[in-house]
């Protein structure tokens, strides 16, 4: 039975040594469990043979978290069923297995529960629910709907002892730095040191821990009523100063109208638009969109959600009026409404990270040592203009091409560095380090969305004090004494 589940690693499984970070790993075995009982069997076997485990979902992570550095690959893509959807006095929920892809969850909800949706929507829909929860991935609508964690009610996981644990929201709360576990043990969490809420829920410590504290096998996700109307609007600008002006004015105005709200505000710079144009040739969904005129130096994508179109129109009208002060050509703005139609604009937005990964594939052909070089720093205490200009200037000084896209709210911008050779890659790495150090000094959040994994581990550790790292190691030890889960992620 065990031997059937666990396969020795051979060349057939080569693709499982990589994720979207383009980092290469090593492994001695691989398994594709179809039930949580099979996961328990495999984990126990690994404990018995002191073999480390790297957990994989959809392998869409861009920090190498799912890339094995040794040992066994536990790929959860076949643990992919929707278990149930139900209603309680606390609302509507869907219970799923961890390997379910986000696209499949969307399909299921469209079919069974059309009036509800799960707001976290990281743009890559081949990501799995387990992967999303493990990295606490966020979508473009976080601006309005809030953190992914809010939409997770319960997780079932297998810990480093091969034991199944159920963590339900509200059941175990940290009190004065301590949390009693159902096993009777105590978890010490120095919330002040780790900059966490004083009364953090245990489930929120698990979520975003990149599989270090346990393997998520099931999750109960909280759904909310789907807005009846959605609009997507893409504003294009010919001058960078005008983008800055528009964003600044936009973020200082409240646009809510009755139940209608601004749900997402996203920025794509000129370099990103150019890369999307290149990607267009190969992606059917993008080919259906008109070309963006080369005169444009950037785009701001805004999504409006509401229950009545009239309310959305009032907001759209106000934003159009604002944009008219900054746009040379006000007929260039794309506007679509309805879930079906705005998929076109979302596909365009999604093409931003996708086109970056495509560009990386090309450079990697020239030099295989080059891997993903990108940041996801959130810098709330700088203006949007200051931040974008700082990235552009410093990259220019070092002679590195960059592309910027991301969330305008909270200045949570993704900067992709696009080295053309290994020397530039090394220079780029130093540049990222400078940015991270600068962000930490200025009170920014150095790793705000994509996780840490293996690629950003050194920088992550650099951003933390020895005490902070010590506390994290303690938490890791409580859940995984032997350190067999996801070694090499976040901590050493």
């Amino acid at each position: 039975m065990v031997s059937e589940l666990i396969k020795p690693f051979d060349t057939r499984y080569e693709e499982y040594l990589r994720d979207e970070s383009k980092m290469d790993g090593k492994a001695s075995g691989i398994s594709f469990p179809r039930t949580k009982e099979e996961v328990v069997t495999i984990v126990n076997q690994m404990i018995n043979t002191s073999t480390s485990i790297t957990v994989q979902g959809g392998k869409t992570g861009i920090c190498g978290g799912a890339v094995p550095s040794e040992g066994h690959i536990l790929n959860l893509s076949y643990l992919n069923k929707v278990i149930d959807s139900f209603e309680t006095e606390n609302g509507r929920f869907v219970k799923v297995e961890a390997g379910l892809m986000l696209s499949e969850l969307h399909k299921y909800l469209n079919k069974v529960d059309k009036t509800y949706f799960w707001p976290p929507d990281p743009t890559e829909d081949s990501a799995t629910i387990g992967g999303i929860l493990a990295t606490n991935a966020q979508g473009i609508c976080r601006y309005f709907y809030g953190d992914t964690k809010q939409y997770v009610e319960e997780i079932k996981l297998i810990d480093g002892y091969g034991k199944e644990r159920i963590i339900r929201r509200g059941e175990r709360i940290v009190n004065e730095h301590k949390c009693l576990l159902e096993s009777g043990g105590t978890l010490v969490v120095d919330t002040a040191l780790l900059k966490l809420p004083q009364d953090i829920d245990l489930i929120d410590i698990y979520l975003g821990s990149e599989g270090m504290y346990g393997i998520i096998v099931e999750a109960t996700l909280k759904l909310i009523a789907r807005p009846k109307e959605v609009w997507g609007i893409s504003f294009f600008f010919e001058e960078q100063e005008n983008i800055f002006g528009f964003v600044e004015a936009f973020m200082h105005t409240s646009y809510n109208e009755d139940e209608a709200v601004v749900a997402a505000v996203e920025y794509l710079d000129k370099s990103t638009l150019k890369h999307i144009h290149v990607l267009k040739k190969d992606v059917t969904k993008l080919r259906e969109l008109p070309d963006v005129d080369e005169k444009f130096v950037g785009m701001v994508y805004i999504e409006l959600h509401g229950n009545q179109e009239e309310h959305i129109e009032i907001i759209a009208e106000k934003i159009m009026e604002l944009a008219s002060h900054f746009q040379e050509d006000d007929t260039s703005t794309w506007a679509l409404s309805g879930f079906e139609e705005i998929e076109k604009l979302r596909a365009f937005r999604h093409a931003a990270p996708e086109s970056m990964n495509r560009a990386l594939d090309q450079v990697k052909l020239l030099d295989s040592r080059i891997i993903k070089l990108a940041t996801d720093i959130a810098m709330e205490n700088m203006t949007f203009k200051e931040l974008v200009t700082k990235y552009q200037q410093t990259a220019l000084e070092k002679g590195i091409n960059i592309a910027i896209h991301g969330h305008v709210a909270g200045n949570q911008l993704h900067v992709d560095l696009l080295p053309e050779n290994y020397e530039e890659y090394i220079t780029g790495k130093k540049l990222v380090k400078d940015w991270v150090i600068c962000a930490v000094k200025r009170g920014g959040q150095a790793f705000s969305e994509y996780g840490v994994g293996k690629i950003k581990k050194a920088l992550y550790q650099l951003s933390l004090s020895e005490e902070e790292l010590g506390n994290m190691r303690h938490i890791k030890k409580v859940f995984d004494t032997n350190g067999i889960l996801n070694p090499g992620n976040m901590l050493d």
């Binding site: 469209n110 080919r287 129109e313």
Partner: protein, 263 residues
């Protein structure tokens, strides 16, 4: 110059599920959208308008009241005016009755120089509405139009693609053009026009307005054909295994491609 375009509202979801027992495709999702092929028809008309003076574009749609949404969408792309031909009496129309109803609506409005249709719809898939409108109107139609090259006083010059042949044509107007999906990439609606669209009027025509009291020509009764079943065609996969050394295989591939007239 006056251009009419025919547009249709179709089910929004591309996700089709199969009723295994009945072998019928189902679209249970209530969302709707503009037939994507018609977006190309609109784009063609708009490109003509951008190039030539005094062009007025009118969109026509036959469908339920809700189909006014596609007329509004056409306004948001830049269409000047729209006509919705709607009446419960038209329910159940097949290709023939749809084309008749549209042609009546078109001819009763203006004398159009060009009528533009999309190649097919995503829900009906017959691809015959355009040619049938031309028949009802008694004017020529050109199928597979991939470009409008030039327009002179009485003639339109266009490129047509049939199989792998490209043909240049000079056609006397009025005529019906059936546009290929590959002809143009449709623009997206602009915010400004989209917001203005709601304020624009849509002309509504019902059975009474069609100047034809013979109800037997319209709707289900006027439809000589009926869709009994829509199903996925059986996929027949023919595989040929080429063997031999690299040179032999390369020669065989080249022969094949030549045989298929691909090179």
């Amino acid at each position: 110059m006056k251009i009419a375009i025919c547009i249709k509202q179709v089910p929004g979801s591309n996700e089709l599920t199969m009723d295994q027992e009945k072998g019928i495709l189902q679209r249970e999702d209530g969302r709707v959208k503009m037939n994507p092929y018609d977006l190309v028809a609109i784009e063609t008309a708009l490109q003509i308008k951008e190039k030539y003076k005094e062009v007025v574009i009118t969109s026509f749609s036959m469908g339920p009241k809700r189909a006014r949404e596609v007329i509004l969408s056409s306004y948001a792309m830049g269409v000047d005016q729209g006509v919705l031909i709607t009446d419960p009496k038209f329910i159940g129309s097949d290709v023939y009755a749809t084309a008749l109803t549209l042609s009546k609506g078109i001819s009763l409005n203006e004398e159009f120089d060009i009528v533009i249709c999309g190649r097919q719809t995503t829900d009906g898939d017959t691809g015959q509405v355009g040619p049938a409108i031309a028949e009802h109107l008694g004017i020529p139609h050109i199928y597979g139009v991939i470009a409008i090259d030039k327009i002179e006083e009485k003639h339109i010059f266009l490129s047509q693609q049939i199989e792998n042949k490209k043909i240049s044509l000079r056609v006397k107007m009025p005529c019906v053009l059936v546009i290929s999906k590959e002809a143009y990439i449709p623009r997206l609606p602009s915010l400004k026009l989209k917001l203005e669209a709601k304020k624009k009027k849509i002309k509504i025509m019902s059975f009474e307005d069609l100047n034809d009291s013979d109800i037997r020509k319209f709707g289900l009764e006027g439809s000589p054909t009926q869709v009994e079943k829509i199903y996925f065609p059986n996929k027949s996969k023919k595989e040929t295994l080429l063997s031999g050394n690299a040179n032999v295989i390369v020669d065989a591939i080249i022969e094949r491609l030549k045989g298929e007239k691909l090179i």
